[in-house]
């Protein structure tokens, strides 16, 4: 997909180069049309294609952990302990492994992806302009919402038939009780201790 986009960009560069060297060509009607394609239509399509590629790329696990402060969060996905929620989801493919961070941290509302990207820009600012925080001190603004868990688990048989879940379903849906903070699934990314924990090594 990226190859097609690069071919389109190269074609656009070639066309634009023609009009950089010989702008007088646009006196002829057919060249005027070509100039419109090369200097307006193709560049606009390149912006759309580039934006689409960058947005898709920013949803990848590798992209998320390419920031220095996120490295221990990436390591925590390999903790050999089923009590660690992110590790359990990642290792058992309960989330797509190449989009592990995005699957649980995306805002699934209508303007959610836009909010996520703006939040990402803020983090880039903190990383490169301000002082990046200690990885263990990073907290999600407003806490981790149950809606992130319920987006997948709601309607799933094993979740709905669990008597504990049945008893607290209303309070989980209304965010009165937290899936992570109510003492049931309280170990998420234990980044402070990740270097001391036993790690799972996937078979090659």
């Amino acid at each position: 997909m990226i190859g097609v986009l690069i071919c389109q960009i190269v074609l656009s560069i070639v066309l634009a180069s023609v009009f950089l060297i010989r702008p007088s060509l646009t006196h002829a009607a057919s060249w005027k049309i070509l100039a419109f394609i090369g200097l307006c239509v193709l560049p606009a399509l390149c912006i759309v294609g580039g934006m689409n590629t960058h947005v898709q790329r920013s949803e990848q696990t590798q992209f998320c952990i390419s920031c220095h402060v996120m490295i221990p969060y990436g390591q925590s996905l390999y903790v050999d302990d089923p009590g660690h929620i992110p590790a359990q989801h990642f290792q058992n493919h309960r989330v797509p492994t190449d989009m592990a961070c995005y699957s649980c941290h995306a805002d699934y509302t209508i303007y959610g992806p836009l909010k996520d990207k703006l939040q990402g820009l803020k983090r880039i600012y903190v990383q490169y302009v301000s002082t990046p925080p200690d990885p263990a001190a990073i907290r999600i603004a407003g806490g981790f919402k149950n809606a992130q868990c319920l987006h997948c688990h709601l309607g799933a048989r094993s979740f709905e038939e669990n008597p504990v879940h049945v008893a607290m379903m209303d309070s989980l849906k209304s965010e009165q009780d937290s899936c992570l903070g109510s003492g049931c699934h309280d170990t998420a990314h234990d980044v402070a201790n990740v270097s001391h924990l036993k790690m799972w090594r996937p078979a090659q």
Binding site: S17, F19, A35, L39, A44, G50
Partner: protein, 72 residues
């Protein structure tokens, strides 16, 4: 200084140059797997391409205006 004095051909050259530089930067941002590559694309490459398109559209407006003057 009026834009018509600058010349339509010169505007086309400026537009082409902006679009080419923007597109080259877009290729760099696509091949560079780094959080800053998005910043490079969104704030530099896309802005340069957009500006190039805008300059080209401006040249079209002035080309149309000079044709109209010639007919009169």
């Amino acid at each position: 200084m009026k834009i018509s004095e600058i010349g339509i051909e010169r505007l086309l050259r400026i537009s082409s140059l902006l679009v080419i530089v923007g597109l080259v930067l877009e290729i760099v941002s696509l091949l560079w797997f780094h959080p800053l590559s998005f910043v490079l694309f969104a704030f530099v490459a896309a802005s340069l391409i957009g500006l190039g398109v805008l300059v080209y559209l401006t040249s079209l407006v002035f080309a149309g205006a000079s044709d109209h003057e010639n007919r009169n």
